[in-house]
């Protein structure tokens, strides 16, 4: 039994999820591949978005994958860190904006 929850090598085996449900696995990977194709957004822009989202969902596999992907695409560290800050700002903003709900509830209940 492995002693840690994460093993970087598991990422290489991602495709194996289709072995237990071929139809859904294949549909997922087809969808995934299509999403990252060049479209109204460039593949480079999509890579940066993926990197930012990887941080908000705190997926270690995804962070590894999209840091490498960014390097291959020539992304610079400044661009990548700015993307992470965008993710962090949204995540902290999402926490903080609920403060309005807290304030309203507090005021409503208070004399």
């Amino acid at each position: 039994m492995q002693k840690t929850y994460y093993d970087p090598k598991d990422l290489k085996d991602f495709g194996k999820i289709s072995e237990w449900d071929q139809e859904l696995g294949e549909k997922f990977f087809e969808y995934y591949g299509k999403v990252f194709e060049e479209g109204a957004l460039t593949a480079r822009e999509k890579s940066l978005i993926a990197l930012a989202v990887s941080h908000t969902v705190q997926c270690a596999y995804c962070i590894d994958a999209y840091t490498s992907d960014g390097l291959k695409r020539g992304l610079e560290r400044e661009e990548m860190m700015e993307a992470v800050h965008v993710a962090a700002a949204i995540k902290s903003g999402a926490t903080l904006v609920h403060g309005v709900q807290m304030m309203k509830k507090y005021d409503k209940l208070s004399m």
Binding site: K12, A43, R44, S68, L71, K72, R73, G74, E76
Partner: protein, 349 residues
């Protein structure tokens, strides 16, 4: 930074590099050797096709000491091809029927016999006469300032390294100031017509990743380089070749020191593309070292893997025997078959 050779680093000895390729994951069967992998797709042994490219490494001396250099070139390398060996190259080039002459180094321009060689070689009239220039040499000393005109006079096809279109990544890989000097050199080449549409003077750039990862899509990178260099500096060029860093010499040293070696080899094996094998550059190329020895490619040259024929030197050059040889492979060859493949002319698949 000094070369591995000057530092007497253990990796300066090709035997130690080859021993590394045959240890660890490749020895315990965790990863297939290149020979095993190629055999799976019935493409082993690798045999040459028609000889087209005669690639001559005129010496390992260079004005730069790039962190990724597979040649381990630098100012402290003194291996320089003599005019006698150059003459032998010209004689055998004619005999070989090759249509491309490709001069590399080191910085080939630093060989004191470089201009003589170019002048003599251009008389032969090969279809494509390539000089691989690191760009900064064109601005390193006044004696090199006229090289763009010299290249133009002999209709040289200039292939230049530029790791990135921004200063940071370029200087990190190649040394401080390299980016600015490279931009100046590219402007000088443009000025005499290189890379300008309709001039007929070919200027191609070489991109290689600045770290332990594979290059991205060549066509996308080319477009980005073209847009950025045009917008920022008014520079134009013809093609961009995306080349994978092979785990040889100083790039291998970097991989080992940064503890990226195993993961990088794993990535290369994982990205193995059997369709790249057909167009590997070793199939239509002969590589010659400064001393006249013959190899399947410039990487095998740095690993001291001479051609598997009786004649291993220009003086014993035998086109027939070479065309029947078996190309020597090891684990470094995975670098040329990863993803879209890699050669001195960029992607191959």
């Amino acid at each position: 930074m000094k070369s591995l050779a000057k530092r007497k680093d253990s990796l300066a000895d090709p035997k130690n590099q080859l021993a590394l390729f045959n240890s660890g994951a490749f020895a315990n069967g965790e990863l297939p050797t290149f020979k095993q992998k190629v055999s799976e797709s019935n493409q082993y042994p690798l045999k040459p096709t028609k000889l087209e490219i005669f690639q001559v490494n005129v010496g390992y001396m260079c004005n730069q000491v790039c962190a990724h250099c597979h040649v381990d070139a630098g100012p402290d390398r003194k291996e320089i091809m003599t005019t006698e060996t150059m003459q032998l190259c010209l004689d055998k080039l004619k005999e070989s029927g090759a249509t491309t002459l490709d001069l590399t180094g080191g910085a080939p321009e630093m060989n004191p016999n470089f201009r003589w060689f170019v002048e003599e070689a251009s008389k032969i009239g090969v279809q494509d006469f390539i000089v691989r220039s690191n760009l900064t040499i064109l601005r390193a000393n006044k004696k090199y300032y006229d090289l763009p005109d010299f290249f133009k006079k002999h209709n040289i096809h200039v292939v230049s390294s530029l790791p990135f279109y921004k200063r940071g990544k370029t200087d990190k890989q190649r040394g401080n100031g390299v980016f600015d000097d490279s931009i100046k050199a590219l402007k000088e080449l443009n000025k005499v017509g290189y890379g300008i549409e309709g001039s007929g003077l070919q200027l191609d750039l070489v991109f290689n990743p600045s770290g332990a990862f594979l290059p991205g899509n060549q066509a996308e990178l080319e477009q980005e380089f073209k847009t950025a260099l045009k917008e920022d500096f008014g520079i134009t060029f013809n093609n961009l070749f995306a080349i994978t860093n092979l785990p040889v010499s100083r790039f291998l040293e970097f991989l080992v020191a940064s503890e990226n070696y195993e993961d990088y080899m794993d990535e290369l094996v994982d990205a193995y593309n059997p369709s790249a094998v057909e167009n590997l550059m070793c199939k239509n190329t002969i590589s010659v070292d400064w001393n006249g020895n013959l190899y399947d490619c410039d990487f095998n040259q740095q690993l001291d893997l001479k051609v598997a024929t009786k004649g291993k030197h220009l003086s014993e050059f035998d086109v027939e025997a070479l065309s029947n040889r078996q190309i020597i492979v090891s684990q470094h060859c995975y670098g040329c078959t990863a993803g879209a493949g890699s050669s001195c002319q960029g992607s191959v698949a």
